[in-house]
Assembly symmetry: C2
Homo-oligomer: 273 residues x 2
């Protein structure tokens, strides 16, 4: 479709992009805002793969259109593309949007953990995360999961929404490529994993096995908890725990880095990379 | 010293804490602002170890003093501690300072790379970083260096200042505990390292050796470059390069995570952890 010029920030056709920051904090019924070129490209790819995500509309800074033509061709032809001047765009978004690239996406109906696991191959690597309330950390879990070829991410219902604009950006769009579910409790998810033959590993400073020495099995899951507190004792008693050796007296790794190290080791052990 | 109450944001005794964010952008002649409990504790420890850092003054939210008494006892008794109400403190800082913990530190004269290396033990692990302009990335390099027991960090003169408030916070104060220098060019630093018997390793998607298989040597240095661009070709031709295996088609790791994985592997190979 030829881009449609928006002259008025109150135009109802781009209402979903208004005051984005405030809307970040409220539910959107499965809709989300994709921001920036990298995430837009992943959203186009999600269409191509017939996956879990649709695009409803796109809003661009007018001088970005030409440079994005290759990505825009990746979307179905009937998706409206709106363009605006910098002044109108900033007025719509409610802040200075220097990237000038926004899209409104929608997630199709979400699968539960059981259904997601039923679709996995016999050899599988899964990441599960419980109680992650920080959007940076959620985003980085997806980024690492994609980098090391994990098949799925399982979030419990207490995790924050990975489709939140900032989480999506930190994930470099991987939330749109790695199959995931955010549903049920920690116990529900552990029960499904164990019933499906997964070796369940978590990180803990007191873990029994150095992460580099974790034995491979066909189906493995890495559980990640919150930074600072780590995994609750009730989880650690039910799973196998690994440690990442660190300098004496320190347990200082950033949660994203710790997850990255553990996923690298497990993926290497499984011979996936 | 008994805390001194500050009633007026214009009080000259706390002038260095005024409008912190704007001052972040300007030079401070070796002075820096430490923010938050974690960084304050590291600053106290730096005093105790007779190291590279001094504290000039401390400014606290009045209701934080009691909870911090243990940390405050770690500072020399003649360092002034100022306290203020939330309203006055926010007025001083120029924004809402919910942590309520600030200190003004000063770095003693900086050593050059040669002098720093001359002080290292025979078995050593060093991190060198070139052209890192992002404060988050600089902070995370120090955090990872501390976690995996690196002996020193060498920054070239084009890196941003690790004593910048945000870098210091992201490092969880490790900038104050890991010896470092920020001086000279990339070429100067590589020359000093090679002259001192270091095996010089860098990360590259086209690296010859998987990072897990890097052979140990007594003196090793990991070179990290900028996210996105990575190390320049002129550096890669002079050093040994390792790769971190990733899912096909991706080179998606965050710079901090990549450095964390590489340091973990090298430190394990050296038997340091």
């Amino acid at each position: 479709m030829a881009p449609v010029s928006i002259e008025d920030a109150d135009d109802p056709r781009i209402a979903e992009f208004r005051s984005i920051r405030e809307r970040d904090l409220t539910g959107r019924e499965g809709r989300f805002i994709a921001e920036g070129t990298v995430v837009l490209r992943m959203l186009a790819a999600a269409h191509g793969s017939g996956g879990d995500f649709l695009t409803e509309k796109i809003l661009l800074l007018e001088n970005r259109v030409a440079g994005l033509s290759e990505i825009l061709e990746g979307f179905p032809a009937d998706i409206p593309v709106y363009v605006a001047s910098a002044a109108v765009l900033d007025q719509i978004a409610g802040f200075h949007l220097h990237r000038g690239v926004l899209a409104l996406g929608r997630r199709r109906q979400e699968r539960g953990a059981s259904e997601l696991i039923a679709r996995l191959p016999e050899k599988a690597l899964v990441v599960a995360a419980f109680g992650i309330s920080n959007h940076d950390n959620i985003g980085s879990i997806f980024r690492n999961a994609a980098a090391f070829g994990a098949d799925a991410v399982l979030l419990d219902e207490s995790c924050c929404d990975p489709l939140y604009r900032k989480a999506l950006r930190v994930s470099v769009g991987s939330v749109l490529s790695v199959p995931y579910t955010r549903h049920g409790t920690m116990s529900d998810i552990l029960a499904v994993l164990m019933a499906n033959g997964f070796a369940v590993w978590g990180l803990s400073p007191t873990g029994f096995v150095e992460i580099r020495e974790v034995p491979a099995s066909d189906r493995m899951v890495l559980i990640t908890g919150t930074e600072g507190e780590g995994l609750p004792a009730e989880v650690l008693t039910r799973i196998r725990s690994a440690r990442i050796a660190q300098a004496p007296g320190l347990d200082s790794l950033n949660a994203a880095t710790a997850t990255g190290i553990a996923l690298y080791e497990i993926a290497m052990a499984q011979g996936r990379l």
